[in-house]
């Protein structure tokens, strides 16, 4: 799937603001935000309080350090379910801890980006992964 909603899992409003801005600047305006790991899974599995259907995002921008379930737990849960197993995930974290990086790569993430995240980096990753045909306009 190319295009569609992007699930941003981020607890910090500042980081959320910066990530949404970075995505918008690359023309990716459809962003659903989850504030913690549990909320993210609820959205993906359709088990949220709102009772809506399961979100099927284009890709997920996932922070690692999250309240309740952390990023790694979310990633693991996604990979354990058939219908979420193949959702592309890009990690964005302040931590450059090698153990985290290795663990995420083992769980099949597109890339591991250090904050502050630049929209161009995201595009580059998506393009490389064949999830975008060409680089959109940059600004």
């Amino acid at each position: 799937m190319v295009g569609g909603p992007i699930l941003l899992v981020e607890d910090s409003p500042d980081d959320e603001f910066l990530a949404v801005r970075a995505l918008r600047r690359q023309g990716m305006g459809q962003v659903v935000v989850a504030r913690d790991g549990e909320e993210a899974l609820a959205r993906l599995f359709g088990t949220g309080v709102e009772g809506g259907s399961a979100l099927s995002p284009w890709f997920i921008l996932l922070d690692l350090k999250l309240p309740k379930l952390n990023g790694i737990d979310v990633l693991q849960a996604l990979r354990d379910e058939d219908h979420t197993r193949l959702i592309p995930v890009i990690i964005m974290s302040s931590s450059r801890e090698e153990a985290d990086v290795c663990r995420c790569r083992a769980l099949g993430v597109l890339d591991y980006l250090a904050k502050p995240v630049d929209g161009r980096e995201i595009v580059e990753v998506l393009t490389k992964a064949g999830l975008m045909k060409e680089a959109p306009l940059t600004g």
Binding site: D14, D15, L18, E98
Partner: protein, 554 residues
């Protein structure tokens, strides 16, 4: 005038003269001279007297004008007297006995003259002659006796003196012996060790006070503290816990006595019911004595052993404490590291936001700034980026310190080549000759060691940037017996006075205008090398290039 027939009478009556003389002697109580055994003596004396008397007759006239020296009888009478005295002495009779015999003989001769009924004048003259003769004989006896007595006295005195000297010598020897023996006993008694002296058969000849005291205190049941009994036999027959040591002692003493060893030293336990005790036994053979003997000393080394054991347990406790402290320190170090990491991590997150918003400000509203205000915002952004990099470097440094080491053989030459290729690719216009020694293989963590080589080569690359022909070498050498890898360059170098600061984080010897950098690369090198049990150091001079060495635990 002597009657001429007197000569005849005397010659004829020898037997009568002797018998009468003996009778007179008996009357005078000289019984010892009148035994049958001594009759011969009397006869010989009378015969001698008669011969001398007759000789005296013939010498009578000549003698009138002559003098005789003292002690030298000049006439037959005196000569006979002296002779008789010497004979008496030779027979072992007392000196006075000759004189007694002569007195009895005088009586015998006078009586014989009187019995001849000579005419009055002749008898008178004969008696006078006999009296004078005997006077001289007795004088001879007396003179000789005196002379003999003097000589004997002198000899006796000399013999006595000799004897006294010998006695004195003997006494002194005996005293010295007693003193020596006292000294010997006092000397061995003064020693605290239990000492026994064994003869060449291993029999105890002497023991000292400490030995006796030990025997008393430990209920020794033998006689006389073992003196006179065989120490070897006691050792040979020992049973129980002590048997082994006793056998070793016996074997050692036999070896000493046979000249198979020069000294014996044994340590053994001999615990009493209420005390743990250790002893050492030392023995030496006095082989120069004939026959040889062995001096044996048993000494308590309980105090030494106790001190040793205390030392061991003290050391063990100390080691335990050190281990405990080290664990605590390591723990608190880890906690501190963890804390720093958490703080740095948090700081980094904030800085990333600051950087993000700064970038957003410039990108979204940049056209609204005029020159100076735009410069301010740009500076704020740049500073936040710098700060974030610093935090990243610190986090890296902390990570190298905390991560687990994976030790395996690493080819540093391959890593160096890869890094050099990268550097050439990034700055293809620079002319840098990188000389890499082939197959420098060490043991260590591949990722971390790659970091070391990368930092050092990047460093060299950076500090040779102002050289038109830069030279960089990577190789290995031996310094102080250690294998040391090195990276050498002909770059800016540094002042050796500041060499110690090179490896400290954020310590820079060049301003950012000269060379860029955070000052964390060499600190990282140092940390990684130290984690590998090695050491990093640098040599250089200003404008003379630098060499960075590092060793790893072999």
């Amino acid at each position: 005038m002597v009657p001429s027939n007197l000569e005849r009478i005397i010659a004829a009556k020898g037997e009568l003269l002797a018998r009468r003389a003996m009778e007179y002697a008996r009357e005078r109580g000289l019984d010892s001279h009148c035994t049958a055994a001594s009759e011969e003596v009397w006869r010989l004396a009378i015969a001698g007297l008669s011969q001398a008397l007759l000789l005296d007759f013939s010498a009578l006239d000549e003698r009138a004008g002559r003098t005789s020296g003292p002690g030298r009888p000049a006439d037959p009478a005196t000569a006979f007297g002296a002779e008789e005295a010497r004979r008496q002495r030779a027979r072992g009779e007392p000196p006075g006995s000759s004189l007694e015999i002569m007195k009895c003989s005088r009586q015998s001769y006078l009586d014989l003259v009187r019995e001849q009924r000579l005419p009055a004048g002749e008898e008178e003259a004969s008696l006078t002659f006999v009296e004078r003769f005997f006077d001289r004989v007795e004088t001879g006896v007396c003179v000789e006796c005196a002379s003999l007595t003097n000589r004997a006295s002198a000899e006796l005195a000399s013999a006595n003196a000799l004897l006294e000297r010998e006695i004195e010598q003997h006494r002194k020897t005996e005293e010295a012996l007693v003193r020596s023996e006292r000294l010997f006993h006092a000397a061995i008694d003064a020693l605290t060790a239990n000492i026994a002296i064994l003869d060449c058969n291993g029999t105890i000849m002497a023991v000292n006070r400490a030995w006796r005291q030990f025997a008393d205190e430990n209920g020794f049941r033998g006689e006389n503290y073992g003196i006179g009994s065989s120490y070897l036999a006691v050792c040979d027959s020992a049973t129980g816990d002590d048997a082994e040591v006793a056998r070793a002692a016996a074997r050692g003493i036999r070896d000493l006595l046979a000249g198979r060893s020069a000294a014996l030293h044994l340590e053994y336990q001999c615990h009493s019911p209420d005390e743990k005790r250790w002893f050492q036994m030392r023995a030496t053979c006095l082989e120069w004595l004939e026959p040889a003997c062995v001096v044996m000393a048993h000494e308590s080394i309980t105090e030494v052993k106790r001190a040793e054991q205390e030392m061991v347990s003290f050391n063990r406790a100390l080691e335990e404490r050190v281990r405990h402290r080290t664990t605590q320190l390591e723990l608190s170090n880890r906690e501190l590291e963890g804390f720093c990491y958490a703080v740095s991590h948090d700081l980094r997150a904030h800085l990333a936001r600051l950087e993000g918003f700064g970038r957003g400000l410039l990108e979204d509203f940049g056209e609204r700034f005029d020159g100076p205000s735009r410069s301010y915002v740009e500076r704020i952004c740049r500073i936040s980026i710098d700060l974030r990099r610093v935090i990243d470097a610190l986090l890296d440094l902390s990570r190298y310190t905390r991560c687990d080491l994976v030790v395996r053989p690493v080819n540093l030459s391959d890593i160096a080549s890869a890094v050099a290729d990268e550097l050439h690719a990034v700055q293809p216009r620079r002319s840098v000759k990188v000389d890499i020694a082939p197959d420098v293989i060490v043991k260590g963590d591949p990722k971390l060691l790659a970091m070391v080589v990368r930092h050092l080569l990047e460093n060299a690359w950076k500090f040779t940037s102002q050289r038109t022909c830069a030279d960089i070498q990577f190789g290995v050498t031996t310094l102080h017996g250690m294998r040391a890898c090195f990276v050498r360059d002909n770059g800016a170098g540094f002042d050796m006075r500041y060499a110690g600061r090179l490896f400290q984080p954020f310590q820079r010897l060049h301003g950012p205008a000269e060379f860029e950098g955070l000052g964390i690369g060499l600190a990282t090198v140092q940390r990684i090398v130290q984690r590998h049990g090695g050491r990093a150091w640098a040599e250089g001079e200003v404008d003379g290039g630098a060499t960075f060495y590092f060793t790893l635990q072999e």
